[in-house]
Amino acid sequence: MSVAVAGVGMHPWGKWGRNFVEYGVHAARAALADSGIDWQDVDLVVGGETVRNGYGGYVAGATFAQALGWNGARVATSYAACATGAQALDTARARILAGLSEVALVVGADTTPKGFLAPNAGERWDDPDWLRFRLLGMTNPAYFAMYARRRMDLYGATAEDFARVKVKNARHGLANPHARYRKEVSVEDVLTSAVVSDPLHLLDICATSDGAAAVVLTSTEYAARHGLADPVRIDAISTVTPTFPNTVLDMPNLSTDASTAVAAPELTFKESIGQAAYEEAGIDPADVSLAEVYDLSTALELDWMEDLQLCKRGEAEALLRAGETTLGGRIPVNPSGGLACFGEAVPAQALAQVCEVTWQLRGQATGRQVEGARVGITANQGLFGHGSSVLLTR
């Protein structure tokens, strides 16, 4: 039950200050050119919604379709916070696997404000995303910092360990033409940057960026008919929700479910995201060649390594220190440079992860290639019970 990745493309990440549609069209045209498929042959467009760009952003699929020139294709728009791109991809995959579509173009693009991501305007006393700021002053970095602090108090992680993640990812991203930050960073640079939320420094936390990513998906039959030999395949897209009671604190909530009447599930929400992808693909975590994970903070990359079963709980720091997660190591994590080098462009980010894994599996990741890569996994978590993991193979 696979679909073929016929083409991928991105608009470089940055703070360009232009309209998100422009970025999206750029990425879409790059992905179409990469696939060799004409826009007129695309029969499904799925957009990743952006919530900060007015009505055109709410109906992103149609916005991109119109910008590329109405071609009569079916259209859909997805929103799933940070998992938006993966959910858009899953929508396209489902129609292709059902035989309802053959060629889908999936696009996500965003223009983001400077500084903390703040909630939308207006008083909303029933919206946890508003209340967490009003009642607690709980920003996104405060959540990241709480996860980081647990690693320190439970597993002996240090601020230097977190800094090492940044150093590694900065080095990975040096040669990535789509990355926003392409500069070496030292452990000292991280530790001397301002503390935002203890124990995290400014350089431990990812920025917000403008950017766009696009993927052309086809049925495997279409790929074969059109001479796409040995394409990268998507073998699983996990978009599972949490299982009640979700007793791990999640953004933007002020509290968790309670395990008063029902015991907490065996797997945490983030663990279940990866597990569902492995099960759907029939792939063992030991077979993964590389991972692109959501390093909203440096420490979160370490959490994800364990959530994706790339190592046991509490062992991520040891792997990092041994150089196993850097290029040339046993399991390179974020060879693209990750969010550390990109900054987050919400509806595009999960698609950007898929673009990178595709280039890696094709052997086209110049300057950051994981040698002999056969299996790549992505992971991210969004707000309100959204999260995703995509497994790609070649």
């Binding site: 500084g115 903390f116 703040a118 909630p119 008083e123 006393w125 508003w130 209340l131 967490r132 700021f133 009003r134 009642l135 607690l136 002053g137 709980m138 920003t139 405060a142 910092a145 709480m146 996860y147 602090r149 647990r150 108090d153 439970l154 301002a194 503390v195 935002v196 939320s197 203890d198 124990p199 995290l200 009640f244 009671p245 007793t247 791990v248 604190l249 002020l254 509290s255 968790t256 479910d257 309670a258 395990s259 008063t260 009447a261 029902v262 907490a264």
Partner: protein
């Protein structure tokens, strides 16, 4: 002038304040903030809830602070801005509740697994006077302070 809660019905303001949640009378699951009308336990069709006071003491699940002033709708209390600490606290009911940490305490006073107690303090002041909020205060056992 007495402080009024920054949000209505989420906590009591007695000398021994407590968070106010609800319990599903069908399955017994406790919810905070309060749930009403439908139970979020997927195996429960319950629709009736009773108000409950949550345990006043719990253990720290994790903690941090806000070194930079959070963006609106956060209302800063002082000018210039003064950082404050935050703690996520695991209660005996089996849930974690985030709160600011009591005035005078910071991250150095906290550790994962440490015990804290609920207090009510001023969050900010507006035209109606002081607005209060629940906070977590580290419980210091006799003699422990000297050890630090």
């Amino acid at each position: 002038m007495t402080a009024t809660p920054a949000i209505e019905g989420w906590f009591t303001t007695d000398p021994d304040p407590a968070l106010l949640g609800t319990r599903c009378t069908t399955c017994g699951t406790v919810f905070f903030p309060r749930a009403d009308g439908f139970c979020r336990n997927p195996g429960c069709a319950g629709e009736d809830f009773e108000q409950v006071e949550l345990s006043r003491r719990g253990t720290v699940w994790s903690y941090t602070d806000a070194q930079y002033q959070p963006p609106p709708p956060y209302v800063p209390r002082t000018e210039p801005y003064e950082p404050f600490a935050l703690a996520a606290v695991e209660l005996p009911e089996g849930l974690v509740v985030v709160g600011q940490v009591a005035d005078g305490y910071g991250v150095v006073d906290l550790r994962v697994g440490g015990e804290v107690e609920l207090v009510v303090e001023t969050l900010y002041a507006d035209e109606s006077g002081d607005r209060s909020i629940w906070r977590w205060k580290p419980v210091t056992e006799m003699g422990e302070e000297a050890d630090q």
